[in-house]
């Protein structure tokens, strides 16, 4: 039941998108989002959609997986669409109702914008392993170390958190089974009762999370981990020709979107 959660899930593969340096993918996502927010007319939306579709095809990510990830956002998407539909002034579709043609157009664009935004970021997490992602992030944020931002510590915490999500989910499942076997009831009762019923899960979960953290700390120290100072990598990230080309295309995309915004299309 809990195992269905897809959070930052990575689909291993060997496409051109998978092979791109995580740093260039991170920059590309930023360029993509910046470009997406320039879109104002239908032609520019069509352009972003086409670019997104092309990236999906290149990365062999099935639309099914994207839709699965969109599901939790459905409520926000529908709400935004409805609000835009009813709160935009203009020509009314049915006289007397507050629904306007302009509103309809706006809400379609808003839906597109949210869906494309999520799809773009999903393409990043679907094609980049969490470790590569945090490595890339650490190197991109590297200059911040000069102003004493603990970049290495932040990124290693991030990768550990990602690493332990499945473990903790499994643990929760186990504890729930065990407490259910002793007759714990999580499904019925008033809200306060149900909140109290979570205690038998939360307490052991926290205990085990702390135990794991302790064990991990000891394991890291016994392998001489001492923070980011002077730490080298087994796999050094290197920009290849494809990264420069991808970045150039990304910049071109953003420039194109800005031009299109100028002309209002």
């Amino acid at each position: 039941m809990l195992k269905d959660v897809t959070l930052g899930q990575y689909f291993p593969g060997n496409t051109i998108v998978h092979r791109l340096d995580p740093r260039s993918k991170l920059i590309l996502v930023v360029l993509y989002i910046a470009g997406l927010f320039q879109a104002s007319g239908w032609i520019s939306y069509a352009a972003v959609t086409a670019v997104t579709a092309l990236c999906m095809i290149l990365s062999h990510i099935k639309p099914k997986n994207i839709f699965k990830g969109l599901k939790p956002m459905l409520f926000i998407i529908v709400l935004t669409a409805l609000l835009n539909m009813f709160y935009t002034s203009g020509r009314e579709i049915i006289p007397g109702w507050h629904m306007t043609w302009e509103g309809l157009a706006r809400s379609v664009q808003m839906i597109l914008r949210i869906v494309l935004l999520i799809t773009g970021t999903f393409l990043l997490t679907y094609t980049t392993s969490p470790i590569a992602l945090t490595d890339g992030l650490e190197m991109l944020l590297g200059p911040l170390k000069k102003i004493k931002v603990p970049v290495h510590e932040m990124t290693i915490m991030m990768s550990m958190a990602l690493r332990f999500i499945p473990t903790l989910i499994e643990e929760t499942d186990k504890i729930m089974s065990a407490q259910k076997a002793r007759g714990a009831d999580f499904e019925t009762g008033r809200l306060t009762e149900r909140a109290r019923a979570l205690l038998p899960i939360l307490v052991p979960l926290f205990v085990s999370a702390f135990r794991r953290a302790d064990e991990l700390a000891v394991a890291m120290e016994s392998r001489c981990y001492h923070g980011g100072e002077g730490r080298t990598r087994m796999k050094v990230l290197r920009f290849a020709a494809r990264d420069w080309i991808a970045l150039a295309l990304g910049a071109l995309f953003l420039a194109g979107m800005i031009v299109m915004k100028r002309y209002g299309i």
């Binding site: 076997a181 002793r182 052991p204 205990v207």
Partner: protein
Amino acid sequence: MSEIRVEKLRHVYSAGTPFEKVAIEDVSLTIPQGQLVGIIGHTGSGKSTFIQHLNALLQPTEGKVFCGGEDVNASKFTRRDVKWKVGIVFQYPEYQLFEETVYRDIAFGPKNMKLSEQEIDERVREAAHFAGVDEELFERSPLELSGGQKRRIAVAGVIALRPGVLILDEPTAGLDPAGCRRILDNICEYHRQSGSTVIIVSHNMDDTARIAERIIAFDHGRVAMDGTPEQIFSEPEKLEAMGLDVPKSTSLAMALKAEGLPLEGSIYTHAQLLDAILRVKEAAPC
């Protein structure tokens, strides 16, 4: 009465997804009231999935599970009631302790049954006695006790439900030899005194051979062998093919026989091995 009957049980995990996995295939068996059963099988053979069907924590994909003649999945209520009849102690149960005191943790199950204070108290003391938990520990926090003590408290927490069937998944995993022996002795004692059915899932052939009346071996989600310890351990090749060992005394007896020592009878416990060797010695004094 809590006779367990399983008919053509099949369980598929994540059906309809790429991660689909058949965990149990066509399992039918009956466990009469009061039997002490050992379930063996290597990791991933389906034994843990199987036991979770017996108290309706998992619902079968196909097939039926009966407890005391009643289909446990008939309704929401039977699914709940069967949890009182069939108690499961999971692997590493000490990680599930959560209450502030040992007493309250053992009382968690009976409290969920909505029993009176007096009855709860009675059950907690009885369960603590069976599981070998000292009453002096009752007011301590379970988190500050040793691994073996925690394990016994968790076992007591399930025994306090007074289940007609007690299932233990790897009850000795990760305990030192003395702790193992103590917990198994407690379980045997509980079986003798309460007349409950006890099912022990284990990797450890020596323990299983010593205490079980009947052994069921799982392999690839099916029941591969089912019989008395004599029957099961007389086919070591078959066990080895499933990735399982024979008890140490059996392999020692086999080695001695191969060296020409005429040991007789089936041997799967230390006592039997000792007996057989003594008999040979008496027959041929040197």
